[in-house]
Symmetry: C2
Subunit: 406 residues, 2 copies
Amino acid sequence: MASLVEAEELDARDPLASRRELFIGSDDPSVSAYLDGNSLGRPLRASAARLASFASDAWGSRLIRGWDEEWFDLPLSLGDRIGAITLGAAAGQVAVGDSTTVLLYKLIRAAVDARPGRTEIVVDTDNFPTDRYLVEGIAAERGLELRWIESDTRGGVSPAELEAVVGAKTALVLLSHVAYRSGFLADVPALTAIAHDSGALVLWDVCHSVASVPIELDEWGVDIAVGCTYKYLNGGPGSPAFVYVRRDLQNQLSQPIQGWMGHAAPFDMGPGYSPAPGMRRFLSGTPSIVGMQALRDMVDLIAEVGMEAIRAKSETLTRFAVEAVDDWPASWAVELATPREAERRGSHVTIEHPAFKQITAELWRRGVIPDFRAPHGMRLGLSPLSTSHVELWNGLEAVREQLVRL
Amino acid sequence: MASLVEAEELDARDPLASRRELFIGSDDPSVSAYLDGNSLGRPLRASAARLASFASDAWGSRLIRGWDEEWFDLPLSLGDRIGAITLGAAAGQVAVGDSTTVLLYKLIRAAVDARPGRTEIVVDTDNFPTDRYLVEGIAAERGLELRWIESDTRGGVSPAELEAVVGAKTALVLLSHVAYRSGFLADVPALTAIAHDSGALVLWDVCHSVASVPIELDEWGVDIAVGCTYKYLNGGPGSPAFVYVRRDLQNQLSQPIQGWMGHAAPFDMGPGYSPAPGMRRFLSGTPSIVGMQALRDMVDLIAEVGMEAIRAKSETLTRFAVEAVDDWPASWAVELATPREAERRGSHVTIEHPAFKQITAELWRRGVIPDFRAPHGMRLGLSPLSTSHVELWNGLEAVREQLVRL
């Protein structure tokens, strides 16, 4: 039986337990359980200080000189650091900038144009909405067809399902590493190999996995990956996304939003667009330097503890959640919508019940904050560095109390 | 003769003089003249405090609930406020989000698609690089032609020049309100009427005018405008841009980056993209909430003092700069590259001399910070709320001292 005592014991044995205090709000009595770090990570205390000093020291005192001294390179230098610490990417393959949606648009466009003559994009029906809406629009404007994998909302895409649809017509396969609903963890190397066997490129959306699941983009042979920084990278609401492009592919790709920051000589301001070599060509406008500040602290913290420890804690947390839900009476009909084996899921656990919309609203008012996903999924997002087992237990107990009252 | 005494007198009579102290760095002895507010405005002291409290209070304590409580509406509510205070735009016509480049891409694409059968985009050769590079790419991908107005780098586009190129084939005219090099202030109502007479849409880039020159988009009948917030709106490096779309045009335009934040029902996460009615359809991904914080303080300050007082101060500043440069010996061959009449220019003055590249580098080391634009332009960007006449005099004296040494 999962219990408060067990949660306390797990916290006592957790080598990352002390890191929780580094986050703002971890001692806030009005929020007894924050279980939505997979939508918006908590701020580090260091980030509040960094944002204030950024305004007074960097922006306020270096003024426009900051661009020459640091900011012009920041999209690439911060990208390298995210790449090294969370993506298994050698330097020169990651850039930070734009939103996830805009980066996906640019790279999907670039990828399909790099496979002329191929007329199909493969995508799954349970991919994140933005990914699906984007390929709909791009297929229409480029005269391409979409091949949908009808994926299980409680699982994800399997190698067999992908094999059934890819072929000589496939330009691009667009998949998510961790499914946003179920938490299903895809087999990236196997699926990438299948796409490559047919000559297609693969774009992995790593929004729901980066910084909670170890990623080895170089080793796995991934072509392109896009991810966000406001979930497990704790960059703050709307912090910029990042893009990885395999080194030998970079100069073969042209993205459509030709802005001055992607130009080979941006400050010449001359006539004619000429894309920069390497990752800079995937930038467009002036990157959000303010938006890049907070996530720097989280990258530093992850570098200190390592992705292995983060994944171990994540698995302990999700196992404890599944165990606790398993203890609830079968008559309540709460269903687990996440793979039962820890190695097949990311860092959130989804449970389903018809009353969860109403229950989530009630819990939010009480300072217990899971996430609700229509039609009746409750996602328990477990942020390995800021979520404790006791916090998770408190949250699960609050859900249980609401279910008892039904 | 322009003099320090005159500068002191102008400051003594300046009704906005006391506002300068509200900005970080205005008392920094290591920067005796910041003359690049047209590239990056100084931070308000209030913004440093706001950024820190945003992390601890809004993000850190409201957590994901912040989206429901404020952030989801912020791109439109902050847009309305920018519109009312700086753009002469009634509510419901402005949205904040993405970079200038990305917003321009989306709206140029939307505009040319709204004029099917028309095959040309009109743009001027001295428009800002991003604007030129974007239309090059869009023309190529949409099978359109570019009609270039060969504009004078010391002036801008005149009604006669526009009349000579627009016609029944023109889908879109893309112009800048204030020319980034010369500071030339375009006659928006006249140029807009000429484009409309030929049935074309007009997109005004107001990056170099917004919050320094009064703008009346509704009254002028403008279709679309895009502007940035890190210059005279002091939002910080890479703060998000804004877009205005005339109300009756909004639902006729479809932008290509179909993301979840532009969907009519974003949290249904259902199949199929359906654009939201009104301005929300021009959003794509998760907007940069952190990046929107600092500019809120500047909008408040502008609301307090009014655009009329800002324009009056801007004209006094640019007049003083021109007067001081006129006093320099003709033998130095420094040329004024900005219109001589104050009502025909924005808030920066450009002077040209072959030594300005080297002189600007030397001045930066000494804490005198103008902007250099190839091949040999020095831009003196005068931010009406944070630049004093004495500061400007100090800067001009430093330039003069460098010229004397040549």
